[in-house]
Symmetry: C2
Subunit: 451 residues, 2 copies
């Protein structure tokens, strides 16, 4: 019988993160200060020293601290699985592999950076981290990361999610975090909003502002972020480095790599090590970023300087953006509802090193159910976006007879997203057209920056 | 750095199940027909041919079919993990290892037998399986097992769980099963109960009767069971066989093996291969079965012939029982709420080859939270019963200074049990005293059997 999984030993966990910055043909555009609009570092009261160093580092490889590696060993290396049952169901000659991050205790790739950020903050003498969370993937990863490193953790959870997704809240509390619905009475920002609008359902923008204020007003506290920025993408490169070894053991090299993008950290973590070979001209691998039709930053956004957050408190970065004031429709893939995109991905997309496609959520869940019924795994709505494109590409191979090798970056399980599956199975799932007018309005509010 | 996980390759998945029956000093007591009370095979209209053969087999090793092994490869071999963080938190010299079945797509060990049973039924030309489920662990495993083998699946889910645990229902539906609340209008049994009592909340006993009636009245349908009987325990021996190889690779042999027991299949699957060496006199490993204080079949029950099900339709088996009419209090570990115990475990307990201990659920959740905060994994309430005893034993080692090696059979994750964690964390979790009077009453209703 042929192998299904490519399993690595603990000794094969990468000991270094791969930083693509020195391998880019030109430097990344600068980060701009939200007020002065001048080039800036990461705001020092908010981030760990190492995070700031890594954000701008020109070192190709950065050592993973032993203490972080020790935690990684709880679930890494993650498996690379040949989707033989899916291939058979599709009748495709394509070979489909998926790298599955859902085996982490927090259920997704997010823990890779949560552990690293908690570690570096501990090294700085920080006692407590504050962060925001929407659906709860990032908040739960940071709760566990802090627990492993002995830090306290405060999570501002968007109020509507806090009430609709109690399981995610309980998960964070089980791992020792303090979770409050945002807007909360714990910050000036939150109190001001509640005073004006006691029933405000909250938003990621408000929650970020609360977490940032918390970090700025507590000496023992820093802020932690789960995607978008360079150092987070860096921490995720353990995924792609492992996948390269695993593909080599499988005796294949991917013709295309497919992943979902919200902030972009999971997929970048997968493809950056492969991109290195592509930039060197050794490979022509297609890299396909998949985003929701309802929030299509790459496929419909503009490559401009914009605020990273809704409130305009975070640094200004050059990225494909739908405008920082754009509020995406409520698709189930909460992790893909971001107006912008990781600057590194945008830089590569602008240079056509990576491509992008936008999909509706109904075909996404159709694909997710087919994946669940063949491979067993019930996938997060985010990962299911990528699955739907993998299936489309595999069906194209069926038509052309091409034996392409497709590598899927599978970000995590959907155990806390079953309500969305229920909506799909009962025919109640709704699609959202590309909100053209809202985007056009939001794009009028990009910050003006010096040329 | 020292290793945390012992990972096996796919080639090390056992290719045979281990059947302990030929290695027992005397034969197991017979199965008795529920009406005639005479020795019987498994009821032929209900079970696959192979299930009946395996139930009484005297072959020591039974080949695992290739098609079953192919499915096992999706998640097996499961990891054996050294709980270094837990050890450190406890300050114990003991070495704690856990064999983690929660990596299966269905989230527990149940899939090991679900896949095998679906396969054998397919070989018999059966098109559809019917079963019951309480909290939903078994129903979801069988739903997926049937999906893998191209069979239809009908699950009668205890009505109160159907409404309280919608995620488990959606999971089964995602994997293609038809799920109805029991009592249902789909069977005579269900209709009769609804006619008398339209708001009947259902019970596992009723659900079993409905599933059995479904199988008996549909030519294309058979019945499938998730624990207790010999062939189910057999299928679970992949767990213990893998663990033996993994412990050997770790260079250690367990001084004690600890697991939770409801019907007993997960823990027996772990310990039976080790018991073989114990029966041969090669080892003195302690085998500790952990059960809830609220449903203490081994520690408080009698070793008698009793019905396997509440309604008295299933065969009569000799087991430690609290009486088949006993309704256990609603502890969160739904999988441990069974009045009896696997006959093989009872046989070994009667001969003092294995021992047993009963625990309350508050210390169980205290242990579960400590495990989650050190090892990351949020455990099912069932598995957490075993964790609590592992922690007690490790703390005894701390007192005595003994470096004992403890092996924990970890049956699965608790992603769908977070409400119970919430109750614990908010101080609302209730303990249930051993229901002595109810048990004494139920023990008056054991069936009379020929001497």
């Amino acid at each position: 019988m042929e192998a299904t999984k490519i399993i690595l030993s603990e000794k094969e966990i990468p000991t270094r993160w791969y930083n693509i910055q020195p391998d880019l043909p030109t430097p990344l555009p600068p980060l701009l200060h939200p007020q002065t609009k001048q080039p800036t570092r990461l705001p020092p009261p908010l981030f760990a020293t190492a995070s700031d160093q890594q954000e701008f580092s020109q070192e190709r490889f950065i050592e993973i601290p032993d203490e972080v590696l020790d935690v990684y060993k709880l679930w890494r290396p993650t498996p690379l699985i040949r989707a033989r049952r899916l291939e058979k169901a599709l009748g495709t000659p394509a070979h489909i592999y998926y790298k599955y991050e859902g085996v982490s205790p927090a259920g997704s790739h997010k823990l890779n950076t949560a552990v690293a950020q908690a570690y570096y903050n501990k090294m700085d003498g920080v006692k407590r981290l504050a962060t925001e969370t929407g659906a709860g993937q990032w908040g739960s990863a940071l709760a566990l990361g802090c627990q492993f490193m002995g830090l306290k953790c405060k999570v501002y959870m968007v109020q509507v999610s806090y009430h609709q997704k109690p399981y995610r809240r309980i998960l964070m509390e089980t791992w020792g975090a303090e979770v409050v619905p945002s807007p909360s009475k714990d910050t000036n920002t939150g109190r001001a909003i509640i005073a004006q609008d006691p029933d405000n359902p909250g938003s990621l923008g408000i929650a970020i502002s609360e977490a940032v204020e918390d970090a700025a007003t507590h000496d023992d506290t820093k802020y932690s972020i789960g995607s978008v920025v360079n150092h987070v993408l860096l921490h995720q490169t353990v995924i792609g480095q492992e996948a390269m070894i695993q593909m080599e053991k499988a005796g294949e090299y991917p013709d295309m790599i497919v992943g979902c993008v919200g902030g972009g950290s999971n997929f970048a973590g997968m493809f950056l090590p492969f991109i290195r070979e592509k930039l060197q001209g050794k490979r022509k691998t297609r890299i396909i970023c998949v985003e929701p039709e309802a929030c299509p930053s790459l496929t419909r956004g503009l490559y401009r300087f914009d605020y990273g957050d809704t409130a305009g408190l975070a640094p200004i970065v050059k990225m494909y953006t739908l405008g920082h004031t754009f509020m995406p429709p409520p698709v189930h893939a909460g992790g893909l509802r971001y107006h912008g995109m990781a600057p590194i991905i945008c830089y590569l997309y602008d240079r056509k090193v990576v491509e992008a496609v936008a999909v509706h959520q109904t075909p996404v869940f159709e694909a997710a159910v087919q994946f669940a019924r063949t491979e067993g795994i019930v996938s997060a709505p985010e990962a299911s976006h990528a699955i739907s494109v993998v299936i489309s590409e595999a069906l194209k191979c069926k038509q052309t007879g091409e034996k392409k090798v497709i590598l899927l970056a599978h970000s995590g399980h959907g155990h806390f997203d079953l309500k969305a599956y229920d909506e799909y199975l009962t025919g109640k799932l709704q699609d959202f057209a590309y909100p053209k007018e809202k985007v056009e309005e939001a794009l009028k509010h990009l910050p003006e920056v010096p040329a």
